[in-house]
């Protein structure tokens, strides 16, 4: 990840482009429509600012471009890279699905054997802790875009990256919000 300020600049540039596209495509939007458009364009801009080097950004772009209404917006924000990025994102999603399935099968076959081997009290103690961690891991997977397809170590890595990006995004959004607030107050 580059210096945070360059990421912020990139993000802002893409976001503003996205917002302009949004505002030009539709004239009278309700508050919620506007909010949705702002959020979507911000998310996609952040993902493309990360240059699709990470799983979460690819997954986010893939999810956003699923919807036909958003497709134009996503294309515009991504700009010239859109083809390459999309291809990468679709490919990664597909291969991830495959990996998940094979992992599930493997888990099934493994867990059967393991339960037999362990002593009864060991199972009780460790399984409680395991279940706690598993539950939270699942929640975290649902929070990070594309997290369902990750294994544990890459999930943590992606979470790291995602948190940093979210922080940058919030920072820029907050500044813009404050600026426009002052403009309106005047």
């Amino acid at each position: 990840m580059g210096p945070p300020s360059s990421i912020k600049k990139k993000f802002l540039k893409k976001w503003i482009t996205g917002l302009q596209i949004c505002s030009s495509s539709k004239e009278n939007m309700s508050l919620f429509e506007r909010k949705k458009a702002i959020k979507l364009s911000a998310d996609v801009a952040m993902a493309s600012a990360r240059n699709a080097t990470t799983c979460w950004s690819r997954a986010l772009i893939a999810n956003a471009s699923k919807d036909d209404n958003n497709k134009i917006l996503v294309d515009h924000i991504l700009g010239t890279e859109s083809e390459r990025l999309k291809k990468a994102s679709i490919g990664s999603v597909m291969c991830n699905n495959k990996r998940v399935r094979s992992k599930k099968i493997l888990k099934k076959s493994c867990s059967f054997r393991r339960v037999k081997k362990m002593a009864p009290q060991m199972v009780l103690a460790s399984s409680i802790a395991k279940r706690l961690v598993k539950k939270r891991t699942l929640v975290l997977k649902s929070l990070v875009p594309g997290g369902e397809a990750m294994d544990e170590s890459s999930l943590i890595e992606e979470t790291l990256d995602y948190i940093i990006s979210l922080r940058a995004q919030i920072d820029v959004m907050r500044r813009l919000a404050n600026a426009s607030e002052h403009l309106n107050l005047k």
Binding site: Q20, A42, I170, R175
Partner: protein
């Protein structure tokens, strides 16, 4: 054997240890040679193992040998494998070695700066301390056994090298473990501890190394997430991370809602936004700073604590009066400095706007 000794002298990282153990080494080396030269298991040695140790451990050592044979070609020959082999510190508790070789509790610290030879010396030195010949033999055997294990772990260490995050995390740990290791070239090692009854085959070792990797990354996350330092345990840490990510996502929701409410036309046209209204915006600073809505902004207050805004670098042009004014206000109230848009961001939006020149003109008119 001569070649091996040359190799010892050539490396010379732990010469003092070597010199003190030279006599012992020459005596013990034949047992090590079959490992180093990758010969098939010496038939004259195996009966000794079988005689002294129970069957289970002997079989285990056989398995380890197989895995060793598989691994070695990756290193392009025996010599390379030996020279690249990371050194380590092997510590046994004598009672456990005496009972069974599987029950050994050894902590392996891989470090690429230390040659294998010194490892052998260390192991042999430890073995020497034991009184009875039986335990000595067991120690030798376990030394051979753990050697293969180290081999397996070394490969894991190699593929973990790519991860920079891990390296960061490893830095803090190596500093505490340099007592025996004379010099540290790269902080790449995996510390794997096999407890009583734990499996020592390559699969369990891989699993353990994976867990180590995850916990290192978790440590990085812990540093990143505020308020996560005091929490021990993976579940609690994950809880905190989940809360943090959720709060960040909620803040984005909130901010986009706020922006939507503030801008009825979704018109973030920077041309008009800054070129026309910026001077007025600056002029309205003192009154705006005291507005109650600004103070009531919750997310805003939260962010003042967690991350201070970037040091305002100022606009890269002749707007000195603005900057001075904003700094003066910032000293009296932080919120104004925060409200002041990140000026380092905006020069990048040049393709979209020509506000810089407009603004410059305006300022020339107003201040000069």
């Amino acid at each position: 054997m001569l070649q091996c000794q040359d190799f010892f002298a050539g490396n010379g990282t732990d010469i003092t240890v070597l010199q003190s153990q030279r006599a012992i080494l020459t005596r013990q080396l034949p047992q090590w040679n079959y490992v180093i030269d990758n010969k098939p298991i010496d038939s004259s040695l195996m009966p000794q193992f079988r005689g002294s140790i129970n069957n289970d451990s002997a079989i285990r050592s056989m398995e380890a040998h197989h895995c060793f044979d598989h691994i070695l070609p990756d290193f392009g020959g025996c010599q390379l494998g030996v020279t690249e082999f990371p050194g380590d510190k092997v510590s046994f508790t004598p009672s456990e070695i005496a009972t069974s070789s599987i029950d050994m509790d050894h902590s392996l610290l891989l470090n690429s700066s230390r040659p294998l030879a010194t490892v052998a010396a260390a192991v042999v030195a430890e073995a020497k301390d034991r009184d009875s010949p039986l335990t000595q033999k067991t120690a030798n055997m376990t030394g051979g056994d753990s050697l293969k294990k180290r081999k397996a772990e070394f490969i894991m260490a190699e593929d973990s090298k790519e991860e920079s995050i891990e390296r960061e995390a490893g830095d803090c740990q190596t500093s505490s473990n340099t007592s025996k290791v004379s010099e540290v070239q790269k902080p790449d090692y995996i510390h794997v501890r096999a407890r009583r009854g734990q499996a020592t085959d390559s699969h369990s070792l891989a699993e353990r190394a994976r867990r180590e990797k995850i916990s290192k990354k978790m440590k990085c996350l812990q540093d990143l997430v505020p308020g996560c330092n005091k929490i021990t345990g993976k579940a609690g840490m994950l809880d905190e991370i989940i809360n943090y990510v959720q709060s960040l996502q909620r803040q984005i929701e909130f901010l986009s809602m706020k922006l939507a409410a503030l801008n009825p036309r979704l018109d973030f046209n920077l041309d008009s936004f800054f070129a026309k209204e910026f001077p007025a915006y600056v002029a309205s600073f003192p009154t705006a700073a005291t507005s109650p809505s600004e103070m009531a902004n919750l997310a805003y207050l939260h962010y003042n604590q967690t991350q201070e805004g970037d040091p305002s670098s100022g606009i890269n042009m002749a707007v000195n009066p603005t900057q001075i004014e904003s700094q003066r206000i910032a000293s009296s109230s932080m919120s104004v400095a925060e409200a002041y848009p990140d000026t380092s961001c905006f020069p990048q939006v040049q393709p979209l706007s020509t506000w810089e020149t407009d603004l410059q003109n305006l300022y020339h008119r107003e201040f000069h």
